[in-house]
Amino acid sequence: MDATLSTLRRMIPGTDSNWEAQLRRGVVEYCVLAALRSRERYGFELARSLGAPGGLLMGEGTVYPLLARLRQRRWVETTWRESEDGPPRRYYRLTEQGTQALAAFEQGWGQFRTAVDQALEEGG
C-alpha cells in the first residue's frame, strides 16, 4: 500500500522535486532519537537544540508532531516530571526499540553517505 502510494506520488510531476525537504523528513527523526541517546529531555529543550536556524527542523514547533509520531511507534516513551519553575514537563526517553532503530539507521546512513559521495565524485 505504502509502496503504491509513493510510486503514485513519483508519477505526479513536481511533488518530489523538493529534495531537501524530502531528505530532511526522512532523517530528522533519527536525529531526535540521537539527541535522546545520552539522557531524557523535555520538548522545549529538544526544540531549542534542534531548531536553531539553519538546523534540521523547519521551525522549533515541528519537533512536537515528530515526537508524537516517535511515541506512537514506541521508539520513545514519556514521563511527566515536576519542574522547579513552572508546570510539570513531559520528558522523552529512548526505548529499546528506539535504540535499535537508531543503531540500524546509523549503519545504513554511513553506507548511504559513502555511496552518494562516490557517485558524486565519479560523475564529475
Partner: protein, 193 residues
C-alpha cells in the same frame, strides 16, 4: 492570562494551530497542541511581561502553524476516508439491496484500523444492520398476533401466539441500541487510529 498584546498573539497562534490540526485523531492532536502551548509558556517566562517583540520572535522561531500541521500529517487525504463510511454502511447499508451492508463489512475486514474483536463485533451485531432488525421485527414469531373472537359465555376471548408484545418490543429495542452502540464504537476506534 490577561489581555496584553502578548496574550493576543499567543491566542491567535494557537487558534490557527487548532484549525490546522483539526483533521488529526484526538490523541495526537492533544499531544501536539499541549506541547506547543507548553513551549510558548516556557519561552514567555524568560521574557519581560511587556516584551511584544520577544513574543513575535519566539512565535517566529516556533514556525508557521501550517508547517507544524504538515509535519503532524494533518493532510486532507490522510484521514481514513473509506473507513469513515463503515458505521453508516453497517447501520443503513442493508436497505440498499443489502449491497451497502456487504460493502461496509468488506471495508471493515480489509482495514487495519480495527482489531479482530471489532471486526467480529461489527459483523455480528447486528447482521444487515437496521435492515436485519427490521426483518427480525417482521418475523411471524417476533411480535404477537392476536385473534379476538367471541363472545364465548358472554365475554370476548383473545388468543395470542408468538412472543408477548412487551418481550418482542424489548428485543427490538435492544437490537437497535446494540447496532448503534457498535457503530459508534467502531467510529471511535477509527478516530483514535
Amino acid at each position: 492570562m490577561g489581555n496584553t498584546k502578548r496574550d493576543e498573539l499567543t491566542r491567535d497562534y494557537l487558534r490557527e494551530l487548532d484549525r490546522r490540526l483539526a483533521s488529526l485523531p484526538r490523541g495526537r492532536r492533544r499531544q501536539v497542541r499541549g506541547e506547543v502551548q507548553a513551549h510558548i509558556e516556557e519561552a514567555c517566562r524568560q521574557l519581560a511581561p511587556e516584551d511584544e517583540a520577544g513574543v513575535r520572535q519566539l512565535l517566529d522561531q516556533l514556525g508557521e502553524p501550517e508547517e507544524i500541521a504538515r509535519e503532524a500529517g494533518a493532510d486532507l487525504h490522510r484521514r481514513t476516508w473509506p473507513e469513515a463510511l463503515v458505521p453508516v454502511l453497517l447501520l443503513f447499508g442493508g436497505f440498499v439491496f443489502l449491497v451497502g451492508w456487504l460493502a461496509g463489512v468488506a471495508i471493515l475486514w480489509a482495514s487495519p484500523v480495527w482489531r479482530l474483536r471489532d471486526k467480529v463485533l461489527g459483523t455480528l451485531v447486528v447482521p444487515l444492520g437496521l435492515m436485519g432488525v427490521t426483518m427480525f421485527g417482521l418475523l411471524p414469531g417476533a411480535s404477537s398476533e392476536c385473534l379476538t373472537y367471541g363472545p364465548v359465555g358472554g365475554r370476548m376471548v383473545t388468543h395470542c401466539k408468538g412472543l408477548p408484545p412487551t418481550v418482542g418490543t424489548l428485543i427490538l429495542l435492544v437490537l437497535v441500541v446494540a447496532s448503534f452502540t457498535v457503530a459508534i464504537h467502531l467510529d471511535r476506534v477509527r478516530r483514535r487510529a
